[in-house]
């Protein structure tokens, strides 16, 4: 069953079209990853799905409800965790959770009981009375997620849940996401950590320049990527000038220089390392390291979006 369905979704800002008629669906109970570079239209799409923006065209159906006309009903069954922790600085963790529960009409006893439960589940029970502003980044992130699920939503929108936090907190958050999903919550996740997407998601949609360019299962994406064989060389001298010679000598490969001293060779057929070693040797270029790369989801992302992940991570973390 499709719990989220977007059809021909368009968002215009004056003459600029941020989202260009996208179609996708999310199955009930799955973790759906929504990936794309900065400015691709991810946030605008999430804003339309959650009611912070109105589509210029198209339809949204969430749990069988019209996501534009019945947005207030929809907001009662979804939880939203934004990319920045947006709870109240002067209020304690417990107080913040109880307040968020009141927005969903939960009765006093129920909201206090749920707040205690979540503080314990997120290992924050010792700090429930501490003001939010005194929390560490990882703790803030966990409490923001707890606030997003205080009303036990059927669908949870998670925007960059592990960005800018320590490794241990990120690990705990990944575990929490998996647990929530096991308990039946459908999760719509955006992240630029491809490892998170690979580990957590059932399916992934890629959005580039306002268009959804690919939606597939993680397994299918990996299988597709691994059809390609990649050899990577770290050279002592610059290797960029060798491109035409290499392609003449090995017509079955394509070459992508990654830096002055690093080159990657790709081929649809398996490659033997030795002919390449001889090639470099004949030109007096020492090879420091050579390895056969097993293409990962990261390769898929780079191929589909044309964006180097290292650059994307830097941009994102710089913003935090």
């Amino acid at each position: 069953m499709h719990i989220i369905e977007a059809r021909n979704l368009v968002k215009n800002f004056g003459d600029f079209q941020a989202v260009k008629g996208i179609d996708f669906f999310v199955e009930q109970g799955e973790i759906f990853g929504f990936l794309g570079p900065n400015g691709a239209g991810k946030t605008t799409t999430i804003n339309m799905l959650t009611g912070l923006a109105r589509p210029s065209e198209g339809t949204i159906t969430i749990a069988g409800l019209d996501g534009v006309r019945n947005i207030k009903k929809v907001q009662g069954i979804i939880g939203i965790v934004p990319d920045e922790s947006n709870l109240y600085d002067d209020m304690g963790g417990f107080e913040n959770l109880v307040f968020c529960a009141s927005l969903y009409g939960m009765k006093k006893r129920k909201r206090e009981q749920r707040a205690h439960e979540l503080l314990a589940q997120f290992s924050l029970d010792d700090t429930g009375n501490r003001p939010f502003k005194a929390y560490s980044k990882g703790m803030k992130r966990k409490l923001t997620i707890a606030a997003g699920i205080i009303h036990e939503p059927r669908i949870l929108f998670l925007d960059e849940p592990t960005t800018g936090i320590d490794v241990e907190s990120a690990r705990q958050i990944r575990q929490l996401i998996a647990t929530l999903n096991e308990q039946g919550t459908t999760i719509f996740l955006t992240t630029h950590y491809i490892e998170d997407a690979e580990r957590l998601c059932d399916r992934i949609g890629f959005i580039v320049g306002g268009s959804v360019v690919k939606v597939s299962t993680v397994q299918a994406l990996l299988t597709e990527a691994q059809q390609e064989h990649v050899l990577q060389f770290w050279l002592e001298a610059s290797g960029t000038h060798l491109q035409s010679e290499l392609l003449d000598a090995f017509p079955m490969v394509s070459m992508s220089p990654e830096s002055d001293h690093t080159i990657s060779l790709r081929s649809k057929v398996p490659m033997d390392l030795m002919p390449f070693m001889h090639f470099f040797d004949a030109r007096n270029i020492k090879v420091r390291e050579a390895r056969l790369v097993r293409p990962s989801l990261e390769e898929v992302f780079v191929k589909i979006t044309g964006i180097e992940l290292a650059r994307l991570k830097k941009e994102k973390e710089g913003r935090k």
Binding site: L52, R54, K72, Y88, M91, L103, G105
Partner: protein
């Protein structure tokens, strides 16, 4: 179905605790009317007539208290993105904005009665029409709060909120008949006085405290209700246009 009452009380309680009942705001509520009284006292060459200045001090206490607090708190919450959390909750925008403004209305009403409390130690307050005074305070507080809301939803930064507030507050202070009777204003400026809500509020207050009025009580109340409705409508319209884009 969401229990809207619980959400309304939740927001109101949170705002009262987070903003209005903070010690600096409580002290501001006391210092503000004292400063105004002192200002009248210093500019007056003879003994200041507390009863005569009471409506003015009350009106300005409400106007400054409500507009300052609401415009700053909403702009601040918008900047920190906590306001987004409220917009994403399943309660209607009208109810949400009523919940956000109720705290400021209560704050305005309390601010209005602090000068009355001080005055009660200095002068005889008999003869005041308390019923009309209460209605006047309530409606000035509502209108000023909605003016603060309109300011808050028209700006992006906290400092802009303050600047924009003064754009409305200072002309109102001088043109609403509190310092200079409207009849004494130059004829060309006089029509401006009648498009300012405080003109009607201060007229009501003058009537209730000193039995002087230039406009009938019912007309004053009706105009304040219309101003409130218009400002609330414009504010929610602005939110839909600017924040739920």
């Amino acid at each position: 179905m969401i229990d809207n009452t619980l959400a309304y009380w939740g927001i109101l309680k949170k705002d009262m605790r987070n903003y209005y009942l903070k010690p600096p705001n409580i002290s501001w509520g006391i210092i503000f009317p004292v400063s105004w009284t002192l200002m009248f006292y210093l500019r007056s060459e003879q003994a200041v007539d507390i009863r005569a200045i009471l409506p003015g001090v009350m009106a300005l206490s409400i106007l400054f208290g409500t507009t300052s607090m609401l415009s700053v708190t909403i702009t601040f919450e918008r900047k920190s993105r906590s306001f987004e959390r409220l917009l994403l909750s399943p309660i209607s925008l009208n109810l949400l904005m009523l919940a956000k403004t109720t705290g400021a209305i209560v704050f305005g009403i309390i601010n209005a009665f602090i000068p009355v409390l001080f005055a009660s130690f200095m002068i005889d307050l008999s003869g005041i029409h308390w019923g009309i005074l209460s209605l006047a305070v309530l409606f000035i507080a509502i209108t000023s709060t909605f003016l603060g809301l309109f300011i808050a939803v028209s700006v992006n930064e906290v400092f802009e909120a303050q600047t924009f507030s003064n754009f409305f507050r200072f002309p109102m202070m001088f043109l609403c008949g509190l310092f200079i009777p409207i009849g004494n204003l130059p004829a060309i400026i006089r029509p401006l006085s009648y498009i300012l809500p405080l003109t009607y509020g201060s007229d009501l207050l003058r009537f209730s405290v000193n039995s002087e009025a230039s406009i009938p009580v019912a007309a004053n109340l009706l105009v304040l209700v219309l101003f409130s409705g218009l400002l609330f409508f414009l504010s929610t319209h602005n939110i839909k246009k600017r924040w739920i884009y």
